[in-house]
Symmetry: C2
Subunit: 183 residues, 2 copies
DNA sequence: GAATACATGTAAAATGTTACATGATTTT
DNA sequence: AAAATCATGTAACATTTTACATGTATTC
């Protein structure tokens, strides 16, 4: 699946593994993240499948770079995937919910501490979506040839915003419920 | 991580791999799912680590069963995990968002079809949380020795409900925005 | 007569994480 | 003087998925 993310970015421009790691970190990482090592190995496999081709570029003063370019096969594979509707909803893994599920016997204060900490983290993430992320997307909206794309990026940002708000709502609800209980 | 889910269930009662698969499917699967094969191999590893012990029970007329029981080490490991606060928020992978992110060049109708289908699926899941899941939990709340646990299960159910509602809100918002656009 | 429930396991493949190794240039 | 940026890669390990293999009893 990481393959599609990489094809998506390479469909804009040729790029190196290093570039792609950075693109992902500042954009899709909130709904599709990857480690550097996985990006490099996936690119290698994609080249064997002829979805991309690479050329090695020697540089002076800094490390050599391997620049990947999407092929026609790669473009077809990307479009084919984008056009084929998903037939199910995503299954997530949520450590926090798993812990809560089994926490009936745990001291109230310990659970409350964790919930408060999570609330802080989600609050922080919400602000990131509302400020930093929003500003970056707005810049693309009002310029260059990417204003159309930026409208789609905005939709994914908005998901993040709603998700964090929902999370905070839930955490406050659960915190209240727990506080009322006697331990 | 599946280890903790299995310890959590075994902490209630000894059970077989088959039992555990079913417990998971009807309860935690919405935030922690697992395939049958993974459950069996994980139990085996857990026995090697002395977190559980097993006894083989021959049966007549039906397959033999291997019943797992949690050990003191297993209990300690479970409680230790439950009491240690998470220090970050979960990173999810959302195929739909990845697709939307790269869909600027895709025909509007194709994207809209997918979004409508996702809305239906989320609506269905929302109803499941509000009806089936709710009823099961309410039964435990008003009986036996599990009414305390059921209050925690309810918190995770509530998360599911809010999550599906948020998803539907977002999908409707995105559908409206896309419909207004000219292709 | 077909499907479902009961019940266990292995093997192979895919995916993802952690850790290691290298080394120049630029910024703090 | 230390840390960050640029840049690539491999190896080992852990996790997860897919697929295979088997066989009885009960329910539709």
């Amino acid at each position: 699946m990481l393959k599609y993310a990489l094809l998506g970015f390479l469909n804009y421009n040729p790029a190196t593994g290093y570039d792609l790691k950075q693109f992902i970190d500042v954009s899709t990482s909130y709904f599709w993240h990857a480690k550097q090592s996985q990006i490099y190995t996936t690119l290698k496999k994609m080249e064997e499948e002829d979805l991309v081709s690479s050329r090695f570029e020697p540089q002076e003063g800094r490390p050599n770079r391997r620049v990947y370019t999407i092929s026609q096969d790669g473009k077809d594979e990307l479009i084919g995937w984008l056009e084929k509707p998903l037939d199910s909803i995503e299954k997530h893994k949520e450590k926090l919910l798993l812990k809560i599920f089994f926490s009936a016997g745990i001291k109230k204060d310990i659970v409350l501490f964790e919930l408060h900490q999570q609330e802080k983290l989600h609050q922080k993430q919400l602000l990131r979506y509302q400020n930093t992320t929003k500003e970056v997307i707005d810049q693309f909206k009002g310029s260059t040839g990417l204003s159309e794309d930026a409208e789609f990026w905005e939709m994914t940002r908005r998901f993040g915003e709603l998700y964090e708000q929902m999370n905070i709502t839930w955490l406050r609800e659960v915190i209240s419920k727990l506080e009322e209980k006697d331990d």
